[in-house]
Assembly symmetry: C2
Homo-oligomer: 141 residues x 2
DNA sequence: AGAATAAAAGACCTTTTTATCTTTTAATGC
DNA sequence: GCATTAAAAGATAAAAAGGTCTTTTATTCT
């Protein structure tokens, strides 16, 4: 479903939502260590998210990555689509050139159900809301 | 979710279920052309399935690939697991080292629902049954 | 201004996946 | 037995994904 980059991205964003703020920025090192992902690779991903204004960052001493209020109020779907492209939620699970109700593959209806279920979670909630849920339900990221 | 190889494999198997029989074998060329997939690549995949006894084949003139009655009565899940490995339906959608009820990620429950829905289709039906459904409902493969 | 810090950017490198091409082996029909 | 056919097998190559390292740029603090 999601590329590794995308998985790292989602986890990092949730981690930032839970552990950073405009006055408490985190360096790649900390994030990478905490999530146990390769740090240079994560840096690339975070830069990409930053360029696309999905996360915030400042350089220099006491700089780092964090989520602004605006960042917190967007959906994880944007993060996913920034990394894996807009087609992730729109392509046939069997690889047919188009996924449609008119020309469904044998897995289409189940697959759609699934995709919609996931979208419900990552689009129906803001990053802030997801982070709250993670904390309350002690979910792992 | 599935690798390209796996997608080709699933489609090819369904295609064989619909268009071949022990007395009507199909060559890679025909299958590849019909499904519009790279033929040499498909050949490799079919060989792998054949080695694992999920499809049948004979060499020589009037040889080709086909499904035996036994092949028809197995599940697509075996095809999937032969190509993509047994972990496809068992790994965390966010890439956490383990996927479990005890340590769920934020997408765990929705993801599980999805996976189970897909499994229902590809494990709850034999390849033969799936093929019948494809024909009746005019599904695309 | 200058030193220190941390992200941004860019150049590489490695591995895996996807794809192609060639040679070998087995079956068929004459 | 020989020519033909088609899969099996193997070797190679191209592309994409994943990962590392180095240099540059911006910021902060002294
Ligand atoms: S057509 Fe295959 S998932 Fe929609
Ligand atoms: S823990 Fe992530 S899908 Fe189960």
């Amino acid at each position: 479903m999601f590329s590794k980059s995308c998985k790292y991205a989602m986890r990092a964003v949730l981690f930032l939502a839970l552990n950073s703020s405009p006055k408490k920025k985190l360096g790649v090192n900390q994030i990478a260590e905490e999530l146990d992902v390769p740090k240079h690779f994560l840096a690339k991903i975070l830069q990409q998210l930053s360029r696309n204004l999905l996360i915030s960052s400042t350089k220099g001493p006491s700089g780092g990555f964090f989520l602004s209020e605006e960042n917190l109020n967007t959906s994880l779907r944007k993060v996913v689509e920034t990394i894996d492209g807009p087609e992730v939620f729109n392509s046939c699970i069997l690889g047919l050139p188009v996924c449609s109700f008119e020309n469904p593959c044998p897995l289409h209806f189940k697959a759609i159900e699934y995709r919609n279920g996931l979208l419900e979670v990552i689009e129906g909630n803001s990053i802030k809301e997801l982070a709250i849920r993670v904390k309350e339900k002690k979910l792992t990221i």
